[in-house]
Symmetry: C2
Subunit: 267 residues, 2 copies
């Protein structure tokens, strides 16, 4: 599983404060902890707007790349912030843009940066018609977006398709729709990665962590191979490690056994 560590996000209260105060220690700590816990990308979302966002993105990228050698996911809809991120990025591994959608304004702004940089890219199956709610709509939007990115020269393996998770509480079939979309996209584009922020599935329901981690396993069985999540959530990471073993993606269960020895699986 390719883990995109989501914690450095300016829409979270403590991170917003740290960005406002230019509290470097707080950000560095979050970056290091996520890298140690198994994040493959460290997401950086300034959560601000306009000129401030450009400067805040630069500040975050410089801090994070000084603290870990993990590649960064530049998380912003603002093309100026994305361009600044690439200008200051010195990491050796290809970074990620999070995210592009099929929404007219978003794609007009973001597509040129993706094409120029050739970076990895989270492609959110969302168009101007809003949340996918009809059967097949999610797949249709995903296909259009993937085809556009391929046409522009991005290879399949740089694309991280996010099928867009809707809450189960408002639609009983929300989980199954995502499973079907993952299977369809994976069958058509075998090298495209599938990622998602899972937690929307449990919105409005109790014991959200239980639903989130069960949904993670169900999506992994369907072909999900990446997640935008909190790598410091031990239960979730243990679930992912166990699911990889069960799904035959962990030779001799070595990773599972190592995680156990490192005390990461609980008792």
């Amino acid at each position: 599983m390719i883990i995109i560590g989501e914690l450095i996000n300016g829409t979270r209260k403590a991170v917003k404060q740290a960005i406002a105060d230019k509290n470097a220690e707080f950000i560095v700590d979050l970056a290091v902890k996520q890298a140690e816990a198994g994040a493959d990308f460290i997401d950086c979302n300034p959560g601000t707007t306009g000129e401030a966002e450009v400067a805040d993105m630069e500040w975050l990228v410089k801090l994070v790349q000084g603290a870990t050698d993990k590649p960064i996911a530049f998380d912003s809809p603002n093309p100026l912030a994305l361009r600044r991120a690439f200008e200051v990025y010195e990491g050796k591994q290809t970074p990620m843009i999070n995210s592009v959608t099929l929404e007219a304004e978003r794609i007009e702004n973001t597509l040129p940066v993706i094409v120029e940089s050739g970076a990895n890219c989270v492609a959110l199956a969302l168009g101007d018609d809003g949340m996918p709610c009809m059967a097949g709509q999610r797949e249709a939007t995903a296909r259009k977006l993937i085809d556009l990115l391929l046409e522009k020269g991005l290879p399949q393996e740089r694309i991280y398709l996010d099928p867009v998770i809707a809450p189960l509480g408002t639609d009983n079939s929300a989980g199954l729709q995502v499973v079907q979309a993952i299977q369809a996209i994976k069958a058509e584009y075998p090298q495209v990665h599938i990622t998602a922020g899972m937690s929307n599935i449990s919105y409005g329901l109790p014991v959200r962590k239980l639903l989130n981690r069960v949904f993670m396993t169900v999506c992994m069985a369907a072909g999900l191979d990446s997640a935008i999540c909190d790598p410091l959530n031990l239960d979730l990471m243990a679930e992912i490690t166990a699911a990889e073993a069960i799904l035959g993606r962990d030779e001799w269960c070595m990773n599972y056994i190592q995680a156990y020895r490192a005390g990461k699986l609980g008792e």
Copy 2:
């Protein structure tokens, strides 16, 4: 999910002792607790042999049917014990025979009892060639066994196919093989139930409960609709409740929300 409560099993030390001492209170308590926790069938396995097994099965069945109105799964390879169980069974719901296999002696003994009784029946995909270990072998054995039962007049919905779980620790693909077998059998025989004792998957590996419950979810996503398990294991039952919601098998998540209100999902 159709839960077959597995705790009244004479191969478990405390139950063996209770059967030897004819400790009725112990057995009744296990039956009531499993029924209250959501068991749909109460399995009764005397764990003894010969004449003793026939008498012990009678004792267990009388006790359990006096304590709950759940149907009983008569768990024995001994046709005399199975016949005695049917003679004394007074429950209103159709009981279950656990189990028949394709092994020559087992099927010769058990098939006549199944055909006469028309009871539900756990059909274990196991032949005289031992544990299925080659791709497709599990499905081939399952098909032969199901076809034989159908030919003898048992309707699909009385058959609970158990695909036979092998340990992941000795074969990395053990989980995936079961998933593929479940999908294949469910596609060919849509009314046949799929059940399993899951815990073999984690044999020899650490933190077995984690692997067992993740495997349960993966199998449910593939079509498993029954399990032979411990209904008093709260984590496992919470996992099943969450998986049913995620998989769209729990309208309006009502069962999930009720389980939460009853304190069954943890915090």
